[in-house]
Symmetry: C2
Subunit: 316 residues, 2 copies
């Protein structure tokens, strides 16, 4: 398949780098400033080297990537809230051209799910977005396999940064600020960690799950009840520990809606993954509880989910 990749951050770069291993050709790659376009396949290595050296991937305008020749648009620009732009416009423009869209950007399917599905219905193209929930973990495909209406709840640890901080706080008896600084030094947390520690990132994933599970009743970030981990005192973790428990930032989609917050859970159970690992529990009507754990973020990990989606597209 011919892929146009929008976004040249960790995920977009990994998709571009690994595409040939999956038998695909990159015909366009864009960052926010520039693009490189070639219907016969761009030179990925030199585009990424130029990005590294000069901060741009090529001499074309970013818009040229969107109008390039491709079968699948891979939307990997940063997630934005509210209008989810420019991701949303990228999605609809590709669909208007009857092209497939594979999203790594959570915005369009978290904030404007109904509109994305409508645009898809009017198009020959299909929209898939496994990469938006849990990186490498096959969460959405598992839900599709089981049929959304045979799933009663989905919950889990959906943010690696928050989980790293909480598991370090619990293991070392350290305070939030101390562990956050450590996580920032290690590159596990961003300079502005709000998106992760306030629960927004986990909530967006839960909202996407809710949209997939409800099939009809649309959900956005505004419908989610979200609490982060900033104000969690280390004494709470000590207390939990005395009782054989610990605290994790758990996101949950159930009949009670979408909720994200610090929860007291038993030690050494499926939900107590440590470090940056993620876990998702899928509660089914006929098959009990399934647990899926793995790397919930990272360039090549998320790219793997993008390629899984591409492999699942119809008409190949």
């Amino acid at each position: 398949m011919k892929l146009a990749v929008l976004g040249a951050g960790a995920v977009g770069s990994s998709v571009a780098e690994l595409a040939s291993q999956y038998g695909h050709t990159i015909t366009a790659l864009a960052d926010s400033q520039s693009a490189v376009v070639d219907a016969d396949g761009i030179d990925v290595d030199s585009a990424l080297a130029r990005k590294q050296a000069e901060g741009i991937v090529g001499d074309a305008e970013p818009e040229e990537a969107l109008s390039a020749s491709y079968d699948v648009l891979v939307e990997a620009t940063p997630t934005t809230l509210g209008e989810a732009e420019p991701g949303f416009t990228h999605v609809t423009e590709a669909l208007n051209r009857d092209k497939h869209v594979v999203l790594a950007n959570k915005g369009p399917v978290a904030e404007r799910y109904g509109e994305v599905r409508e645009a898809e219905q009017d198009s020959e193209g299909t929209v898939l977005f496994e990469a938006t929930v849990g990186g490498a973990m096959p969460v959405l495909s598992t839900i599709a396999d089981f049929d959304a209406d045979k799933i009663t709840a989905v919950r889990g640890v959906l943010n690696g940064t928050a989980n790293f901080i909480l598991s370090r706080m619990a293991a070392e008896g350290l305070g939030y600020e101390h562990v956050l600084a450590e996580a920032q030094d290690l590159g596990v947390a961003e300079t502005d960690p709000s998106f992760d520690v306030d629960g927004t990132d986990a909530a967006l994933k839960c909202v996407i799950l809710a949209n997939v599970l409800s099939e009809g009743e649309e959900c956005t970030l505004e419908d989610a009840v979200v609490e982060g981990i900033r104000d969690l005192p280390s004494s709470a973790l000590d207390l939990a520990n005395e009782d054989g428990k610990t605290i994790r930032l758990i996101g949950e989609v159930s009949d009670d809606g979408v909720r994200v917050g610090p929860r007291l859970i038993e030690e050494n159970t499926a939900l107590t993954v440590t470090g940056t690992r993620n876990i998702v529990q899928v509660e089914t009507t006929h098959a009990g509880v399934l647990n899926i754990s793995g790397r919930g973020a990272g360039g090549p990990e998320t790219a793997s989910a993008v390629f899984a989606d591409i492999g699942r597209l119809p008409n190949q």
Copy 2:
């Protein structure tokens, strides 16, 4: 889709019972003695009630199910070794009629994988077999999503009976014979537990995984190095425990081939599931290690995997 179900044990009965919830119609159901066939849809409840009361599902001959009107043949007869009959013949007869086949029976894809694939190539029908490995867990679909050549190894706890016995032995300090008797009382172990405790069942699953992963080099049970848990003294578990470890029956497919046997593993890691739960670890090139755990056996659980396969069939 119209389904013909061969086998009216736990899995076949569950497929028949749940089919209407997934929008499918059962046009034939057979056990080893009898069948009930109706191109407009059989009365599943009365067929299963008759099975309960009289030991047969209907008045037709079993062969009539195979020649009935259906889109998908669900092969859920008991797994047999060697020639994998009569399962293998069921598969090829359906493929000769250009029908799809969904297997819950491990025999044909463990013992005669190459022949099944050949028959599939000459047919309009597709063969899927998620239900043969790990019940409800989406193992084969995950491998397909990641691309077999991006997977370096698959290992896990693939037999619930053996895992129940080992985890009870470890937790209670009891001997093998004692726990086996307990498992038999609970219905977790068969009267003749050989298939489970000798590692055969886990090995068949690993052989199927090896066939899917190697794509070409065929593997059968004869190629697997298999050791069971019958001779494992409880003192070995005590020794492991003193060192923070435990013992599980682990099946593994890697560059070293297919191996099943009791292995010393760390306590409280992903592989140490307890009771009858199963876990599969998928080691990938680009996305680290994925863990999938859940119910590895059971009627409705395995039926869920059958329906997932049916949902994935082409041309619907």
